[in-house]
């Protein structure tokens, strides 16, 4: 991951250098950000309905959470199954990978959170304590803490370092189930069905509560960490300023009335994406708020989506299938093939 990150930075630096060289010329128009509008491949997960699909930290692998109690790890580029993790007692609802790809955590309707060892597929730890099904789970940056939000209205912070089976802390401020949860460096963002987005600032020791008035289905941080994105059951995605709570943007048009669906930001914060109950993924321009793309995924509800951490690549989950979307259709495929050949 770090290597990729470095490369990314390097290209950035080059860009800067170029710009500086061409200072005398009018600056070229910034490239129009590409949208993941081409279907690269479809993975039939064969694990019941896919409740959530997630990229790993570097975006090379994907995790699919199945309603048949299994969690599966796939290669994004080849679409092959790498590992199946079984140990949950009921459908898996969310999963996350650690920064070093050595561990996974997943949560389930069986009220447990499981920490997995990626390579062996063994259960490293099974964390019990939630009183209801666990909706969302997330590692912190260093994978030292697992945070899980449950329908019982609590967020529990589990220590992965110690062998205690009790959570470090229980955040029970939510008055209803916690539907979504994100972690940044020192902040914790939770969305609850009570219509409030809570941001726990560990550094300041403060809790900021933003009232949305509609049950929150998904919350996200923007990549720059200045904004939060919330989608709620009033079929609206809102972009809020993190520090003040003011609304910076409102994105509508999709349909999110009853299901817990995901939303996300593109990797460079240029677009806002949201699942919809009408079988599309809606993609808005972040600044303009205009609908840029209405990606037809299928006919059922698009349940989950995940954006690649650095590239223009999108995962969508509908029913039992996961679809991978990219910016360029053929080229990427060929690239993948080439890469594979090279590897061989």
């Amino acid at each position: 991951m770090s290597l990729g990150h470095l490369q990314h930075q390097a290209t950035h630096a080059e860009d800067h250098a170029e710009q500086k060289c061409e200072m005398s010329f009018p600056q070229p128009k910034p490239e129009v950000p590409q949208l993941p509008q081409n279907l690269l491949r479809t993975i039939d997960c064969q694990q019941g309905a896919v409740r959530a699909v997630r990229f790993n930290a570097d975006g090379n692998y994907l995790l699919s959470c199945g309603s048949d109690k299994s969690l599966k790890l796939w290669s994004v580029s080849r679409g092959t199954l790498l590992k199946t993790y079984s140990g949950h007692g009921y459908e898996v609802l969310d999963a996350d990978g650690s920064y070093d790809n050595s561990q996974l955590c997943s949560c389930s309707s069986d009220k447990t959170v499981i920490l997995w060892d990626v390579a062996t597929g063994q259960v490293t730890r099974k964390l019990r304590g939630h009183a209801g099904k666990v909706n969302c789970v997330q590692f912190n940056e260093e994978a030292t803490v697992i945070l899980s939000g449950s329908i019982d209205g609590t967020v529990r912070c589990w220590d992965t370092r110690s062998r205690k089976f009790d959570p470090i802390q229980i955040l029970d401020e939510a008055q209803d189930g916690v539907s979504s949860l994100k972690v940044s460096e020192h902040e914790l963002l939770t969305g609850s069905v009570d219509g409030r987005v809570r941001r726990y600032d560990l550094r300041m020791g403060q809790l900021h509560v933003d009232f949305i008035n509609s049950p929150i289905t998904c919350v996200c941080f923007s990549a720059d960490g200045q904004c939060t994105l919330t989608s709620s059951l009033d079929s609206t995605v809102r972009l809020l300023d993190k520090s003040t709570g003011e609304m910076l943007g409102e994105y509508t048009g999709h349909k999110m009335k009853g299901y817990k669906l995901d939303c996300c930001l593109s990797s460079k914060d240029t677009h806002v994406l949201s699942c919809s109950e009408d079988g599309h993924v809606y993609c808005w321009d972040l600044v303009e708020g205009s609908l840029m793309l209405k990606l037809p995924v299928g006919k059922a509800v698009v349940q989950s989506l995940s954006f690649h951490p650095s590239e223009t690549r999108l995962l969508t989950a509908m029913e039992g299938r996961v679809q991978v979307w990219g910016a360029e259709p053929e080229e990427t495929e060929e690239d993948v093939v080439v890469v594979q050949q090279e590897k061989a």
Binding site: G48, N135, N140, V145, Y200, D210, G245
Partner: protein, 974 residues
């Protein structure tokens, strides 16, 4: 598709995997000292012989390095390579241990001589000097030294490379010649710096040499500061006596001033001959007296003159400038100031003097900003002195926390004081107007109430001492006519207890004298555990009941108690006996009691200190899309210390003793916790009388909620709530008298065909917990819909309530309910459904093409946003092609969503109706009733959907569904 075994090949494993952690594996014990072992780097055990016998074992059984012994240096000699003389180095005799980090000759990185500064090899030089002395030819090495390359430090080498020459200073070259390159000797420097003829230096330079314009010079070399370390034990600056110099004497020896002041040093630099330096001999110096042989006693003691030093900062001249004025300075100044001030002000009136102290300026504080949700309504709480009422009443009051005077106000802190107490403390006058609900009562009602109170107060031990300053409205009336009051009390009691109590006693008797009760040996439930006497009496009562004694109640009661108290206890016992009758106690043995249930703190509950702002305002703000300040609340929140550590963040509140939000203790069942200031009278007067029964101070179990008989009568036992209800009726003036007097005991069979308000009130009276449920499960608009359903009989309502309860009992909502009961004193905050009516999905009407039965079961508990159902084909485990299945699915979902949307559209009313409906068809299966709901709403919404409804049922059987649909429509039409 790769299988699991294949996929293993895709991983690259680095390092040794840790042993998989066993769940609940016990922690490893530390190895005790005597079992700890030492191994060398090859893994061999090293035995410790003891410090004096060689330390650890080494080598081969303490002998040599290897089994073969020492390895000799191989002898090599050939024609080409003769065995030369081998110089044995010390290292040859060392083993690896000696060369190791902790050995005698550690191999570590050191500075080589080339890079070492000159000082380092002093020792080596010394050694060389010694060897030179002992060399066969003395001075042999001297030559060697001469020839040896000069060793200078790296810095010097570098400087040389850069063009530096010895004697020059370091730095950029300067244009103008500042001064001649000075030699090291101080005298020469002095000569050049200050010539005797007094000419300036520059002139001197110009005189000396011709300086071309374009020549730059290296800067002057700076004499380094001498950092000689202090090694002696003298004081700072003391140089000690040099015996050589002292004894040698003479002017050549120089001065023997041991302290070198600057002035002295300069003197010596100037070469001035001082008298003392012409001393003939002998030891002299500071601290040495003048010897007898000395002819002159000069300045042997160093004297420092204070005039050398500045005593005043800033060069101000000392004194106040008033030369010759001998008065104290302080006085002077004051006088002066006064005169000045007076002059400024002008003439001072006779008899007045100027104030010596300035008047303190009054600081005016701005009025406090009212919080946005502040409403200027004040509720005067009934002031009841605990000492003035009977212990029974006091207890009842305390459990309901009628904000009365406490026995120990100091214990509660200032937050526990009520307004009257605060007023007392502040010494304010009593407020005008009605300060208590009692003032609102009619005279006869008040008398009746005080009559109830009187007998108990009579028996209370010790003379009653009314607290001074506290209004005594309560007993004022009863003093006038004690007899009348007693009579009225008796009447009230008899009217209250007789009819119902009789019936209930019979019931209790029949229950407890049954065979099940007889079989039960130990009584599991002790409702009056907190008051042992009462419990003892209750036990007695139960025992009597078991024996089938008809007079069980009368026998078990304490005859010394007052009539009122006895009546109350009688009723309580009957109720408790009914509630915890054998059947339920056999059930209750399956449950464990809450740990923190009873205790002193049982009356209080911890609530977060910071409460959220008004939700209504926020909703308005959200509607106007004015996110930001209006919708944001910021609270103090304490993260766990360990969590901070894990997040690499400093603890924002180090040393704070708690985590989470700051909590404060509130009364758990205070009437006023549920008194939210709102317009609707029903909401404002919805006391929660749960705390009345001391037997259940904390959470109520499901069982006692459903204990209807007890429920009905409980209400009237709570004096405060009764007072309130009475007061409210009095205030409104519309309440019929009947409902106040025997309202609580109204038969449930009485038709609620009076006016709507009456019904509402009556409902409250008889079932106070309804408000609570409303607060939880419905919004305020629910009130209207309840009024609209006038036609319903009370039975139905009860059913409904039960339904709600049973639902709450199974689903996760029970936690919600408990929340409200225990932790949330402010219902509007916690009325989850009212805020998001669309959240609490009763049961998602799943597609008829059913997911597996387990699914169904789980989904019944579900609330919050749902998960999309897995496609039907998936669950059926056959996937002919994804497209058609998806199509089907979508259809179904669409239908559902439409229902859903409709449900959102008219949430409240529908909800209520649906509830009723559900109970009407209680007999039916739950699943089917759910189906009805959804189809019901759709049919109400638009008939166009009925087609789709039919399709929806495709999975089960279309006919069946249609049949049901029709049935429901028929019912609707009724």
């Amino acid at each position: 598709m790769a299988s699991d075994s294949d996929s293993d090949g895709d991983f690259v494993t680095f390092g040794t995997p840790l042993e998989p952690l066993e769940e609940d594996e016990p922690l490893r014990k530390p190895v005790p000292l005597h079992e700890q072992t030492v191994k060398d780097e090859k893994g061999r055990y090293q035995r410790f012989h003891g410090a004096f016998t060689g330390g650890f074992s080494a080598g081969y059984f303490n002998t040599v390095g290897t089994k073969e012994g020492w390895t000799p240096a191989t002898f090599v000699s050939s024609r080409q390579q003769k065995a030369g003389r081998q110089n044995a180095r010390p290292e040859d005799f060392m083993d690896e241990e000696d060369l190791g980090d902790h050995g005698i000759a550690p191999r570590q990185i050191t500075t080589t001589a080339d890079f070492a500064s000159g000082r380092k090899d002093v020792i080596r030089d010394k050694a060389r000097a010694i060897t030179s002395l002992s060399a066969p030819i003395p001075g042999d090495t001297v030559l060697e030294d001469l020839v040896a390359p000069a060793r200078s430090s790296m810095g010097v080498e570098l400087l040389r490379k850069m063009g530096w020459k010895d004697g020059q200073g370091v730095g950029p070259r300067v244009k103008r010649r500042l001064c001649k390159q000075r030699a090291d000797s101080g005298t020469r420097a002095f000569v050049s710096a200050s010539p005797p003829n007094g000419l300036s230096g520059s002139q001197d330079e110009e005189d000396g040499e011709f300086v071309p314009e374009n020549v730059t010079f290296a800067p002057k070399d700076v004499t380094p500061i001498d950092f000689t370390p202090k090694v002696d034990l003298h004081g700072l600056g003391y140089r000690g006596l040099n015996p050589l110099a002292a004894l040698r004497g003479g002017p050549g020896a120089g001065h023997i001033n041991l302290f070198t002041m600057d002035s002295d040093r300069s003197n010596s630099l100037f070469g001035e001959d001082r008298k003392g330096q012409r001393r003939r001999g002998g030891v002299a110096g500071q601290g040495f007296g003048v010897g007898a042989m000395e002819d002159d006693d000069e300045d042997i003691y160093h004297r420092d003159i204070m005039s050398n030093y500045d005593t005043v900062l800033g060069g101000e001249e000392p004194g106040d400038g008033l030369y010759g004025w001998t008065a104290p300075q302080q006085y002077n100044r004051k006088k002066k100031d006064h005169s000045k001030d007076a002059a400024y002000l002008g003439k001072i009136l006779e008899g007045f003097t100027l104030a010596s102290d300035k008047l303190e300026t009054k600081t005016i504080f701005p009025p406090p900003n009212l919080p946005r949700d502040f409403r200027p309504v004040h509720y005067f709480r009934p002031v009841v002195d605990l000492s003035s009422v009977s212990p029974m009443v006091a207890q009842a009051l305390q459990t309901s926390r009628g904000h009365m005077a406490q026995e120990e106000p100091s214990k509660g802190g200032r937050h526990q004081l009520d307004s009257a107490q605060r007023r007392e403390l502040l010494g304010e006058a009593t407020l005008q107007g009605p300060s208590s609900v009692f003032d609102l009562l009619k005279v006869e009602d008040r008398e009746r109430l005080s009559g109830l109170r009187r007998p108990s107060s009579d028996t209370s031990s010790g003379p009653r001492q009314p607290t001074p300053g506290r209004p005594e409205q309560l007993c004022s009336g009863c003093r006038d006519s004690p007899a009348a009051a007693r009579a009225s009390a008796q009447k009230a009691l008899s009217s209250r207890f007789t009819p119902h109590a009789e019936q209930q006693q019979q019931e209790a008797l029949s229950v407890w004298s049954g065979p099940t009760a007889q079989a039960q040996t130990g009584q599991t439930f002790k409702p009056f555990e907190r008051t042992p006497h009462k419990q003892a009496r209750y036990d007695l009562y139960i025992d009597q009941l078991k024996q089938g004694d008809r007079d069980a109640l009368e026998l078990s009661l304490d005859p010394t108690m007052t009539e009122w108290e006895r009546g109350r206890e009688r009723d309580e016992f009957v109720r408790a006996a009914l509630l915890y009758k054998p059947s339920s106690s056999s059930l209750s043995c399956r449950f464990t009691r809450g740990k923190q249930d009873d205790g002193v703190e049982a009356d209080t509950v911890e609530v977060t200190r910071d409460q959220e702002n008004d939700v209504d305002d926020k909703q308005a703000a959200v509607k106007m899309k004015m996110f930001g300040k209006l919708t944001r609340d910021t609270f103090e929140w304490h993260p766990d210390n360990l969590l901070c550590k894990r997040f690499n963040v400093p603890d924002p509140y180090p040393g704070s003793g708690f985590v989470g939000m700051p909590k404060v203790k509130r009364d758990k069942f205070s009437v006023f916790n549920f008194l939210t200031v709102s317009e609707s009278p029903t909401a404002s007067a919805s006391p929660a009388p749960q705390g009345v029964k001391p037997s259940e101070p904390g959470k109520r179990s499901r069982w006692d909620v459903s204990g209807q008989a007890g429920n009905k009568e409980r209400k009237e036992k709570d004096p405060v709530s009764e007072f309130l209800s009475v007061a409210r009726i009095e205030a409104s003036g519309s309440g019929p008298e009947a409902s106040t007097t025997d309202g609580p005991t109204t038969d449930p069979t009485v038709e609620p065909d009076t006016e709507q308000k009456d019904e509402e009130e009556e409902e409250e009276e008889s079932r106070p917990s309804m408000d609570l449920f409303k607060a939880i499960f419905a919004s305020s608009s629910d009130e209207k819909s309840s009024s609209s359903s006038e036609g319903e009989s009370e039975e139905e309502e009860e059913e409904k309530e039960e339904g709600v309860r049973s639902k709450a009992g199974t689903g996760p909502q029970i936690s919600n309910q408990l929340n409200v009961n225990t932790t949330q004193p402010a219902p509007p905050v916690s009325t989850t459904p009212s805020q998001n009516p669309d959240v609490v999905f009763k049961m998602p009407s799943g597609p008829a093409a059913a997911p597996p039965p387990r699914d169904q079961e789980m989904e019944e508990e579900e609330f919050g946003p749902r998960l999309p159902p897995p496609s039907s084909t998936l669950t059926a485990e056959r996937r002919p092609s994804p497209t058609p299945s998806a199509k089907d699915d979508k259809h179904k979902k669409k239908c559902k969503e439409k229902h859903k949307a409709k449900k959102h559209g008219k949430h409240k009313k529908d909800k209520k109706k649906k509830k009723n409906k559900r109970h009407k068809h209680k007999g039916k299966q739950k699943k089917s009733s759910r189906k009805e709901e959804s189809s019901d709403s759709s049919s109400e919404g638009s008939d166009g959907n009925s087609q789709e409804d039919g399709e929806e049922g495709g999975g089960v059987s279309t006919e069946e569904l249609l049949r049901r649909l029709k049935g429901i429509r028929g019912k609707n039409l009724q």
